[in-house]
């Protein structure tokens, strides 16, 4: 119980701004009610990582949604300025920790752009093979997370079982389950162990049949899933391009853009695959895109294993890397969109400046544009459409 003194003090402190806001006509609706400000996160059980959303609610409808980032900021770009070029690669693993291979690949492409190194063809094939496995290991849990946000717990268990199997392959190849440090400047760390190509092939063959049973049959056509996702988070092509979206959120509106085909890097021009697009532009479309991209990744992995040449896996590099002064740029299609790295070199053995363009961060502005007008429980499916990773948006 509060003492009488304190109660009076508290009431006067509270009522004054509240009275002023009630008197202002713009915050009252036709029933004389005002909108409520609410903070969702950063420690919210349903929230993706450490994200805080400042919501203005009119009843259950969201009027305004402002994401607040920075709860996982680790000064990745600044730390990279004090490290030698090869020692930055283990840091990039910590950016988007669901797509580590893509981060490494993007950074390494930027340094190779500075150095003009010749990468052996076998190394390029191994890089693409690992990247596509990583895409599977990222897209499948993304589907599971989307279902988890709608309240379905089973798909995430099936998704993590698949991810676990891919991680076992990664562990045998790279030595670590998540922080790989495998793709190096000029090649890859080591050749594949002799039994791994057969293991990957067996896994991929099994996944192809399991995929239909475990994910498509389980989710597609489910009435609850359709009623929660169809028409939710709908956006037009123009809006998506204006916001600078990349990856599945862009392709689900029908924009046919994929870095692997449009700005090809590594050996993607030699491989056959389709860029998946959808026209609906809502959460359900992004789910369909992820399902179809998984099947394309399986196709790419099979081609990589069939076409993989013999030879060295590491290019000829000096012991100490000192790139000439200038800029290096590398961009890859990560599961979440375009991951790009820009490095400025001053001729020393540490970078002068490293900048990461992370898709989780850039796709996040979809929230401000798309969420207003939706109901409060629709925010989580829209987060599943973006599928951000907090290591990515905070760096």
């Amino acid at each position: 119980m509060l003492s009488e003194e304190r109660r009076v003090e508290q009431q006067s402190a509270l009522t004054e701004p509240a009275a002023a806001r009630l008197a202002a006509p713009d915050v009252r609706d036709e029933f004389g009610l005002e909108t409520i400000d609410m903070s969702m996160g950063p420690q919210h059980p349903a929230m993706h990582g450490l994200l805080r959303l400042i919501l203005e609610l009119d009843g259950e409808t969201v009027v305004r949604c402002d994401p607040v980032m920075g709860y996982l900021h680790r000064c990745q770009e600044k730390i990279a300025e004090n490290r030698m070029y090869p020692a930055v690669i283990p840091l990039t693993d910590r950016l988007d920790y669901f797509a580590n291979m893509h981060n490494e690949h993007g950074y390494v492409l930027a340094v190779e752009d500075l150095l003009d190194v010749e990468v052996p063809p076998r190394a390029e094939y191994i890089r693409v093979l690992m990247s596509e496995l990583m895409r599977l290991a990222s897209h499948i849990p993304s589907i599971g997370f989307l279902m988890l946000e709608l309240g379905a717990f089973t798909p995430i268990l099936y998704a993590f079982r698949e991810r676990e199997r891919i991680q076992t392959i990664f562990e045998a190849v790279t030595g670590a389950r998540m922080m790989f440090h495998y793709i190096r400047i000029g090649g890859v760390k080591a050749d594949l162990p002799p039994d791994i190509p057969q293991k990957i092939w067996d896994y991929i063959e099994g996944l192809e049949s399991r995929f239909q049973n475990d994910f498509v049959d389980l989710i597609q056509g489910n009435e609850i899933f359709i009623s929660r996702t169809r028409g939710v988070g709908k956006m037009t092509q123009e809006k998506a391009v204006e916001m600078g979206l990349t990856g599945p959120p862009l392709r689900c509106t029908g924009v046919d853009f994929d870095l692997r085909r449009d700005y090809p890097y590594s050996i993607y021009p030699e491989l056959e695959f389709d860029v998946i697009t959808d026209t609906a532009g809502d959460v359900e479309a992004s789910y369909r895109i992820r399902i179809a991209e998984c099947l394309q990744s399986i196709r790419l992995i099979k081609q990589c294993l069939e076409k993989m040449p013999e030879g060295a896996v590491m290019g000829d590099l000096g012991r100490r890397l000192r790139p000439k002064e200038g800029d290096g740029f590398g961009r890859v299609e990560s599961p979440r969109g375009e991951f790009a790295v820009h490095i400025v070199s001053d001729g020393s053995d540490t970078p002068y400046r490293v900048h990461y363009r992370d898709p989780s961060f850039c796709n996040m502005q979809l929230l401000q544009e798309v969420v207003p007008g939706h109901y409060l429980p629709d925010i989580m499916p829209i987060m599943g459409l973006i599928d951000p990773v907090s290591g990515g948006w905070d760096k």
């Binding site: 020692a87 283990p90 089973t154 760390k189 049973n213 475990d214 389980l218 989710i219 001729g347």
Partner: protein
């Protein structure tokens, strides 16, 4: 409407089929799976082979290796060579990037299969390998950004002139 609920029933069929499959979870502390050959666990040093070249200390991005070096005639050849009297690996800083293992010319630092590093105190995670303990809290290589080339050369000219 007969179609409503069909999608849910189809999904239920999937979960029921999984009910009769083998379990894939394992009871971790009782059952430990075999680690692959390349697995990167905690580091260890074979001090008999170490030539105190300090390359691991220099390459380590997290500065977790500190070595105290001394000139000593260890093999009785009558020639004083660098010898590591103190060698500490601070596991509370290590991120298992394996750069020190790759750079070692005599393969004396390597990963073990040990991965359960836990302690009540940070200092307990600093493992000493040499005969003399080294303070792991001292940063062996403070990060100082190099000055630009032009600024570096200017005072040199003055000194020679």
């Amino acid at each position: 409407m007969p179609q409503v609920g069909q999608g849910i029933l189809k999904g239920m069929g999937v979960t029921i089929r999984h009910l009769f499959q083998n379990k894939i979870t394992r009871q971790y502390p009782e059952y430990k799976r075999d680690l692959p050959e390349r697995s990167r666990g905690m580091l260890t040093v074979d001090m008999d082979r170490c030539i105190a070249c300090l390359q691991c200390m220099r390459i380590c991005p997290d500065h977790c290796i500190s070595i105290e070096q001394e000139k000593r005639d260890a093999d009785g050849s009558g020639k004083a060579k660098p010898y590591a009297v103190g060698f500490v690996i601070d596991d509370s800083r290590c991120m298992y990037c394996s750069l020190c293992v790759e750079v070692c010319p005599v393969n004396c630092i390597y990963h073990t299969e040990e991965f359960e590093a836990q302690a009540y105190n940070r200092l307990e995670l600093a493992r000493q390998f040499g005969e003399r303990p080294v303070d792991p809290t001292i940063d062996p290589k403070p990060t100082v950004k190099k000055k630009p080339k032009a600024a570096k050369q200017a005072p040199k000219k003055e000194a020679t002139a």
